[in-house]
């Protein structure tokens, strides 16, 4: 079975994209989940602050999302640009 160089390069780009997004999805998932869990606990303790707590949760989750976005960007780069 002869594998051409150009074919292997595309293959590697696809594997790289898979690894980038696959592993990169772990962190934001765990981090945002933890933030949301604590937010629920906070609302349970102080329901009248629900609006403030939810807003803070979303801000914190947005920051946590950022590295997931980096992974998505690198994956898209590998899929469509190189």
């Amino acid at each position: 079975m002869a594998i051409e160089g150009a074919d292997l390069i595309r293959a590697a780009a696809f594997v790289g994209a898979g690894i980038a997004m696959g592993l990169g999805a772990i962190g934001p998932g765990v981090g945002e989940g933890y933030a949301a869990g604590r937010a629920c606990e906070a609302i349970g303790r102080k329901p009248e602050e629900a609006g403030l707590i939810t807003r803070t949760m979303l801000v914190g989750q947005a920051v946590s999302e950022s590295t997931g976005i980096y992974s998505l960007v690198v994956a898209l780069l590998l899929l469509f640009v190189v």
Partner: protein, 323 residues
Amino acid sequence: MILDPPSAMKIASFVGAGLCIGFGAIGAAVGEGYTAGLANQGISQKPEKSGDIVKNMLVGQAVAESAGIFALVIAILLIFMESTPSLLNAASLIGAGLCMGLGAIGSGIGSGFPGGEACLGISRQPAVSNRLTTSMLIGSAVCQTPAIFAMVISLILMFTKFTDLPLSPTWAALLGAGLSTGLAAIGSGIGGGMAAGASCEGVARQPETFGSVTTTMLVGQAVSQTPAIFGLVVSFVLMFKTFPESQSLAPAMALLGAGISMGFGGVGPGVGNGLTAQEAVRWVARNVEHAGLLTRTMMVGQAVAQSTAIYAMVVSLVLIFVV
């Protein structure tokens, strides 16, 4: 099947970039989520301080983000850099990607601890919020050190010309160099972060102990960095020692094994040293008259916990020099 060098370079840079940002995204996100969670807990305890708490949360998350940004930079560099094509340079690119990706995990997670504890601390003691932010920044900054070690090794791997060395077994040495620092940085990052988190908690509970607590934290963090430094040493040896050419698999696997040994071997002691430092710092805050005794006990305990990292380094060096 022998790859032509330019193809091998492209393959290695894409896979390396994927590994780099894939692993590297994990730590910062987990740490930032942890910080956000504890920030909300603090808000539930003191809603009127939510402004200060959110500000502190964002600052703490920014420090945790830096590890992720290092990983992004290395990944983009890997995809777009032009370098002399050679199979050996291809191996070094994968090593670089692994190194930075793995190395960012620990520092990202670790920097989440002081961020979160500082936010909780502001809810407990709003009057000392400036001191808490300072504690958080000192602790998080030291916590980023393993990620910086990993970035240094990545950059060396990417930009040093390895072309005139024999392909086998040097390819394994370069991969091993990446694994050695990358994996060992995980333990040191998390451990340093645990110590920093305890210092923020301690300063919140007893603000007047800021000096002793910070000193104990820095000593504890410094010892926690030792596994990452062992990893760095083994990486440098693997990168810059010339190995005699050999076509058989055993010498190559010995060098890869050296990297794996020191890499994984640094994880446990790093976390363990962090656990020790965390409790020591916590109790220095509550019992500052005995800070000296606590710090000494912490150092003895950390030294014993360090033992398996030393065994791992010995095995690595034996694999590199003896067999």
